[in-house]
């Protein structure tokens, strides 16, 4: 089977599966091979789920042949970040302290994708505990540092590292990631894939590792915005097992939005100060695409509130509480990156009053952001101002002039999508981030889809598509 097939979007693969030009078993076997070779070489894989995958693929082929077509995801192989409970398959949370962990049930998202007919081919590598305590090194993972398919001396980003790398390398059809602060958008930007972080509460967190109950979100990482819409459609919706999950319906039809003239709010970005000439060039080119589609632009300033500080206090407090058993047992010292242990331990000193103050600031922040969205439909900025960072150096040294919009947007639970918008002079992908008002995923998806109709960045394939990878 040609490698080209593995780099098609879900939407394109679905047409081949439905018309039975390709079978799900064939597609699954090809992805399993890609996972065993380049996926493993990139350290993007936590566990290959071959037995389950082939069983699900055979089932999909049988159903499609008998006319019982479940929809676009039917028969499509995917990978899930290794923090979702998967019945009988290890869920190690990327953590040496959880290396023997296995649950006897499926997370809600795994159930929903199973109902949609998708085929689970792998659990994907991640930063241990999704970076709960704050990490200093890319190797803060049971599986080691996840390498970037575009340049294996670079990092894939975190914490959904394997999800980003595996999608970019054509080792899965799509992947599930999670984000508390940057864990979908950062690897999406670094790896040159499309990553959607839904509104907080849009997707049930039942069966997903909890880092921060009020900040964790689950979302798709794929090869196009259209794919992300299909995946979100399958996983969104209220779940009584997660009281924070919302029943606000998610409906998306590109045809209803494609000719809409959106008002785009431009966030202030100091490219010069951050030495971000590549990001500036790519971002200006991206804006030209939207200008060509007659979109309107407005300059937007964020309200003067301590967004990042509130987000940090909430994550630190909730993370230290979520991993209290790990801390009390002393196993926190088994984590691969000792910065994580230090972060989780220091979180124990936060007072309840400070946590509540952060949550009160958060309420003010949500109100203030609602006013911002009275002036525009979406917000837009580069996802990050630099390409993927070196894999072997301390992030304390390398994470400089990066920009990013994660603080305010995650604190206030806003949906966001990162799409490839070009490359640095050194050939590393850069991402364009489109942020929407709560529950307005349809608008950001439509704009991302418009952008991908006009550009080819999302179709670029990394040089690491062959079997030999320099590591």
């Amino acid at each position: 089977m040609s490698d080209d097939l593995l780099f098609l979007t879900v939407t394109e693969q679905a047409k081949l599966l439905r018309s039975r030009k390709v079978s799900s078993v064939e597609l699954t076997q090809a992805y399993l091979q890609a996972l065993r070779t380049r996926g493993t070489a990139l350290r993007a894989v936590a566990e290959i789920t071959e037995e389950v995958a082939l069983q699900q693929a055979q089932q999909a082929d049988k159903e499609i042949a008998s006319g019982k077509y479940r929809g676009v995801l039917h028969g499509i192989p995917y990978g899930a970040k290794d923090l979702f409970a998967t019945k009988g398959i290890p869920a190690r949370w990327g953590s040496p302290a959880h290396r023997d962990q296995c649950f006897d049930y499926d997370a809600s998202v795994i159930e929903r994708l199973h109902r949609a007919g998708a085929v689970l081919v792998a659990k994907l590598a991640m930063i241990e505990l999704a970076g709960a305590g704050g990490y200093e090194f890319a190797h803060a993972s049971l599986t080691g540092a996840c390498l970037n398919p575009w340049d294996t001396t670079r990092w894939a980003g975190g914490s959904s590292s394997g999800s980003g790398a595996a999608v970019a390398a054509g080792a899965v059809g799509f992947a599930l990631g999670t984000e508390t602060w940057g864990s979908i958008t950062v690897p999406a930007a670094f790896c040159g894939v499309t990553g959607l972080r839904p509104t907080y509460g849009r997707v049930s967190r039942y069966g997903a590792m909890a880092l921060s109950w009020t900040m964790d979100k689950i979302g798709p990482m794929a090869r196009s915005a259209e794919d992300c819409a299909h995946i979100l459609q399958a996983i969104a919706g209220h779940d009584p097992r997660d009281p924070s999950s919302s029943d606000v319906p998610f409906r998306y039809r590109f045809s209803t939005w494609r000719n809409r003239r959106f008002r785009i709010g431009l966030l202030p970005v100091d490219f010069a100060k951050n030495n971000a000439t590549d990001a500036e060039r790519c971002f200006r080119d991206a804006l030209e695409v939207f200008k060509g589609r007659k979109m309107e632009f407005v300059e937007v300033k964020l309200p003067d509130l301590p967004f990042n500080e509130a987000a940090e206090v909430i994550i630190v407090a909730e993370g230290s509480s979520a991993f209290e058993n790990l801390i009390r047992s002393g196993k926190v010292n088994e984590l691969a990156d000792q910065s994580q242990a230090v972060g989780l331990l220091s979180g124990l000193t936060l007072s309840a009053v400070d946590y509540l103050r952060a949550m009160r600031v958060r309420a003010e922040a949500s109100r203030a952001m609602a006013k911002v969205f009275e002036r525009c439909d979406v917000l837009m900025a580069p996802t990050l101002l630099q390409g993927a960072l070196p894999v072997d150096r301390s992030l304390n040294e390398t994470w400089v002039n990066m920009g990013g919009n994660g603080g305010f947007a995650n604190l206030t639970g806003l949906p966001s999508i990162s799409v490839p918008m070009g490359f640095t002079a050194g050939g590393l992908p850069l991402g364009l981030e489109i942020i929407g008002a709560p529950y307005e995923e349809a608008k950001i998806l439509a704009l991302a889809q418009v952008f991908q109709q006009e550009t080819e960045w999302h179709k670029k394939r990394p040089p690491v598509a062959g079997e030999r990878i320099r590591t």
């Binding site: 009020t214 500080e309 010292n333 331990l345 103050r357 600031v361 309420a363 003010e364």
Partner: protein
């Protein structure tokens, strides 16, 4: 009625008096009290099965200190009197129908 029986009030009074007397006696025998260790790292150690090693203690102390800047910024943000935090409590619904 038993004439030696105490009322509940009398019992509590007697208990408190004897406890206070015992406490005063044992205190008089104790060496002079050391000031309690109220450092943040001591508070962290109270959660742990074994105290942190010196190097980790140092790093946690630095992290706590660095967190102070974040907290100062957060605390300086004016908030409306009595404004509510951004979360809600979900009362747990009954699983079974009442008979």
């Amino acid at each position: 009625m038993n004439r030696f029986a105490l009322t509940r009030r009398q019992f509590h009074l007697a208990l408190m008096t004897s406890a206070a007397a015992l406490a005063a006696r044992s205190k008089a025998q104790e060496p002079p009290a050391q000031p309690a260790d109220t450092s943040p790292t001591s508070a962290v150690n109270s959660w742990l099965p074994v105290p942190m090693p010196p190097e980790q203690t140092q790093k946690v102390a630095e992290a706590v200190k660095s967190m102070q800047k974040t907290l100062e910024s957060l605390r300086s943000c004016p908030l409306p009197e009595g404004s509510e935090p951004a979360f809600v409590f979900h009362p747990y619904p009954l699983q079974k129908e009442r008979r």
